[in-house]
């Protein structure tokens, strides 16, 4: 095991873990931040999406040893960000969620999209959200909520 200093949601957190431990499990089990979800462990579903150095990243395949000083933002803090708050509000207003398990990851991907493209097209949405599975199938409302958030932010 080794000790790492991580910058999580603006705070420095120290964890002592196996260097191969994926960031996902460090967040969930060592830092007790369970908003980031485990869905597949192979970066195929997007439920574990966080922002690492400002980039939407699948935390289930990033070992803690490779993070370095890149800041980590998770679903727990994304609401403190203007775009993050707008996306969460749009999600609630459009009543997007069903089981809700994938939605932390969906929202983190959507925020990353809207930070890079203020007015995303359907093709942009399909590309940026293309790796996030919603098993309930809430995709129609996800599209609507992204567009609503985009309008609200304009």
């Amino acid at each position: 095991v080794q000790t790492y200093k991580l910058m999580v949601n603006g705070e420095t957190r120290e964890v002592t873990v196996d260097p191969g431990t994926p960031l996902l499990w460090v967040l969930r089990e060592d830092l007790k931040m369970t908003g980031t979800k485990y869905g597949c462990g192979i970066s195929a579903c997007g439920a574990c999406t966080v922002h690492l150095g400002g980039v939407a990243t699948r935390s289930c395949v990033v070992p803690v040893s490779l993070i370095g000083d890149r800041p980590i933002v998770t679903i727990e803090a994304i609401g403190q960000d203007r775009v993050g708050r707008a996306v969460q509000d749009a999600w609630v207003a459009e009543d997007v969620v069903q089981c809700g398990y994938c939605q932390s990851g969906q929202i983190m991907s959507a925020v990353a999209l809207l930070k890079s493209r203020q007015k995303p097209t359907d093709a942009d949405i399909e590309e940026s959200m293309g790796g996030n599975i919603c098993r309930c199938g809430t995709y129609v409302r996800i599209r609507k909520a992204i567009k609503a958030a985009s309008q609200q932010l304009a």
Binding site: G35, G41, C102, G137
Partner: protein
């Protein structure tokens, strides 16, 4: 209207209904004791359940600050009951909706489904079965609050009225529910209470946002997998690669050498084999340790499933008559019809995994004379009994907390409680320590309990008017219900009703009609998958009717209207509504696009859809879906819309190129989302407009009926583009 549920026609099970064979079979499994006790314990639904007065205090708590906490007697896993059941109660109670909070109730007799007699979610029955129950509860609470106020003010109740959590009396008097709660709770529970008429509803029928919306968007909502208890350990299981196998030898030295690993030991599996469980401080430790177990498995006597062999076997079986599910008229006339006027069709459907997004998990702490359990379960009663049995306790010694679940689609309703039994067996070994047992995604995809693989063979004779005159239908697939307590009620004459539902009860006029079924035994555990038999039967029926319409040279909607039984009003209504809402776009499709339709009734709800499809990258691109449905009273139209919008996307699972579980040498060839792929956003419909037939009839199901219609509608559209009929799923490269 006859109610179609997962349990098809509810009725009492007769003692003789439990055949000796099924009794012996279930007894031979590890689950034997459970199955028998369950059978005896169940009072499976009479047509009209006996009137029961549910104690309001088990369902409603009015707190001093005005908050009204309503207990939800079912699992919430996306379907929205955590909002819509409280809506029913709050409406009749005249509660201020802003004050309403909902909690998932623990396992207890009082929370059993009024019709099914066990605490469960299934058969799209939550609202249908609890509509009256929750409304009466609300009306009783309101009557008690009203009586308490009237007593306090010394006025007749007739001079008092209620609105938004306040009782108003003569002379401008008013009292908040929170102020009256204590005295109201001491009053007798009234037996007969008037219920509102539809025009008086304030919440029922009004689109209402989910109570769990915000906490599911900010990461604060805790699912079962998020549970964290002091001293808790995590357990992962190394399951036998073939169902029912056991280890010859286990070398766990490397696993145990990892810091944080607490123990590794063998536990029984419900399929008669043995698994090895690893208990550690954290998930990642447990996973590393499990990967380092060196297990030599003994496969002798274990039948290895093989998809290629099963396909051949099923195809052969489908060409022979099976156990009779339905026979009407004279089928011999089929042989007199010439080939030019016949359709002979063979269909194939693969095993499908449910893959709910939250991997399966259960936490158990065993304290010797009692246990505590945390699980996102569709079957609380069944799972509680199974855990009690595994631990040598009585069910009432097992406190069972219902945890919010990340999807389920049937996967959390297992008659053999296999995950809960593993968790209990593990906890028994780790007395006093809470253990969270987790199935990884790989465990889930490879772990069985799939929608069964099926083959259908259909021979249709077409009359001079282009309508079917004779129809012989053979269905082959494992019985979902065989070996479960449900078999006594729902397997009749060797036919599992869940395999033939959607065919035997078709709303189309078929004068000479026979349906039969074969249920081979295969060493692959199977389970109901959202909409159960309708997943395959609706596909077969709606693609064949489309083919008949094409042959007849008749518009596919007009043909169906003509073929429909005169009394199928509820289905006719949605056909007309789909026609009306989709014809503006269906008649102006861009070049390279085509439309297709499908209609089906399941769980008491009729559904139809029209799709706008083109082909992109050799895949169907679904640009638009227009859905119409009749579910009786739509309690929360926003949820109904949501269920149907998203449910058609779920239904696209069946069309995915990697939408099949296949077997070679007894092992599933897929083990995660890379091999078994549910729809991503690119695969799902871009837009779905949902139209609800206005109704004040009693509500019917909304969780499952959306699923069956989408895949036949899409392949019907694809036929327009490619001229090919698609009779085998998954849909490979176009």
């Amino acid at each position: 209207m006859k109610e179609k549920t997962m349990f098809t026609t509810p009725r009492f099970a007769s003692e003789s209904g439990l055949s000796r064979r099924s009794f012996l079979r279930v007894s031979a499994t590890a689950a034997g004791g459970l199955m028998v006790s369950l059978y005896l314990d169940w009072r499976l639904p009479a047509e009209t359940p006996p009137a029961k007065i549910y104690p309001p205090d088990a369902f409603v708590h009015i707190q001093r600050d005005g908050t009204i906490v309503i207990q939800v007697n079912r699992l919430e896993f996306g379907q929205g009951v955590q909002t819509s059941l409280p809506m029913l109660l709050a409406d009749e109670m005249d509660a201020d909706w802003k004050q309403v909070e909902a909690e998932l109730a623990p396992a207890a007799d009082v929370y059993k489904d009024p019709l099914f007699g066990i605490q469960m979610v299934g058969g799209s029955g939550s609202i249908a079965h609890s509509f009256q129950q929750y409304r009466e509860l609300g009306a009783r609470v309101r009557a008690m609050l009203l009586a308490a106020a009237a007593q306090q003010w010394q006025v007749p109740t007739s001079q008092c009225r209620t609105e938004a959590s306040v009782v108003y009396g003569p002379g401008g008097r008013s009292a908040r529910y929170a102020e009256l709660a204590d005295s109201a709770a001491r009053l007798p529970v009234p037996e007969n209470v008037p219920l509102k008429n539809a025009p008086q509803f304030k919440l029922i029928g009004k689109g209402t946002r989910r109570l769990d919306g915000r906490p599911k968007c900010d990461g604060s909502l805790k699912f079962g997998l998020d549970l964290d208890l002091p001293g808790m350990k995590v357990a992962l299981v190394a399951h036998p690669p073939l169902f029912g196998a056991s280890p010859k030898s286990v070398d766990d030295r490397a696993a145990r050498s990892i810091p944080g690993v607490m123990d590794a030991f063998e536990i029984p599996t419900v399929k008669g084999g043995t698994a090895v469980v690893v208990v550690a401080d954290k998930f990642w430790t447990a996973k590393q340790a499990r990967d380092r177990l060196a297990i030599d498995w003994n496969f002798s006597g274990v039948e290895p499933a093989d998809t290629a062999q099963l396909r051949a076997k099923y195809r052969d079986l489908a060409r022979t008559p099976g156990s009779v599910a339905l026979t009407r008229g004279d089928l011999s006339m089929l042989d007199t019809i010439t080939a030019a006027n016949r359709i002979d069709a063979e269909y194939e459907f693969p095993y499908l995994a449910h893959t709910p997004m939250e991997p399966l998990n259960t936490t158990v702490r065993f304290d010797g004379d009692r246990a505590e359990v945390w699980a996102g379960s569709q079957f609380q009663t069944v799972d509680q009994i199974a855990i009690a049995e595994t631990l040598g306790l009585k069910p009432e010694q097992v406190i069972f907390h219902t945890e919010m679940a990340g999807g389920g689609f049937g996967r959390r309703a297992t008659p053999d409680s296999h995950v809960q039994r593993e968790a209990a067996a593990t906890a028994k070994h780790c007395k006093g320590i809470p253990v969270k047992l987790i199935w990884t995604r790989e465990d889930d995809v490879q772990g069985g309990y799939y929608r069964p693989m099926h083959a259908h063979r259909i021979e249709i004779g077409i009359g001079g008017d282009g309508m079917p005159v004779a129809w012989r239908h053979v269905i082959v697939g494992q019985s979902i219900l065989a070996g479960t307590p449900f078999a006594a009620i729902l397997v009749k004459n060797g036919v599992d009703e869940t395999a033939v539902e959607g065919v035997v009860d078709t709303a189309y006029v078929i004068p000479n009609f026979s349906v039969s079924a074969h249920h081979p035994t295969v060493n692959v555990p199977v389970l109901w998958w959202r909409s159960v038999g309708h997943t395959h039967t609706a596909f077969v029926m709606e693609t064949l009717v489309d083919e008949l319409a094409t042959r007849a040279g008749t518009d596919f909607i007009v043909y169906r209207q003509k073929l429909l039984k005169p009394d199928a009003k509820k289905l006719r209504g949605v056909i007309d509504l789909v026609d009306q809402k989709s014809s503006p776009w269906r008649n102006h499709l861009p070049e390279g696009h085509a439309s297709g339709v499908a209609f089906h009734e399941s769980f008491g709800t009729t559904v139809g859809c029209a799709v706008d499809v083109s082909i992109e990258n050799k895949r169907p691109k679904i640009h638009r879906v227009t859905v119409a449905l009749d579910c009786g009273t739509a309690v929360n139209p926003l949820t109904v819309e949501s269920q149907f919008q998203a449910g058609v996307s779920f239904g696209v699972s069946q069309l995915m190129a990697k939408g099949a579980i296949t077997f070679a040498n007894g092992r599933a060839q897929q083990n995660n989302f890379d091999g078994y792929t549910p729809p991503y956003i690119i695969d799902a419909p871009v837009a779905v407009d949902v139209h609800i037939v206005p109704s004040t009839e009693k509500p019917s199901g909304c969780g499952e009926p959306s699923v069956p219609v989408i895949s036949p509608a899409v392949v019907n559209a694809l036929f327009q583009l490619t001229g090919k009929r698609y009779r085998s799923l998954p849909l490979l490269s176009l």
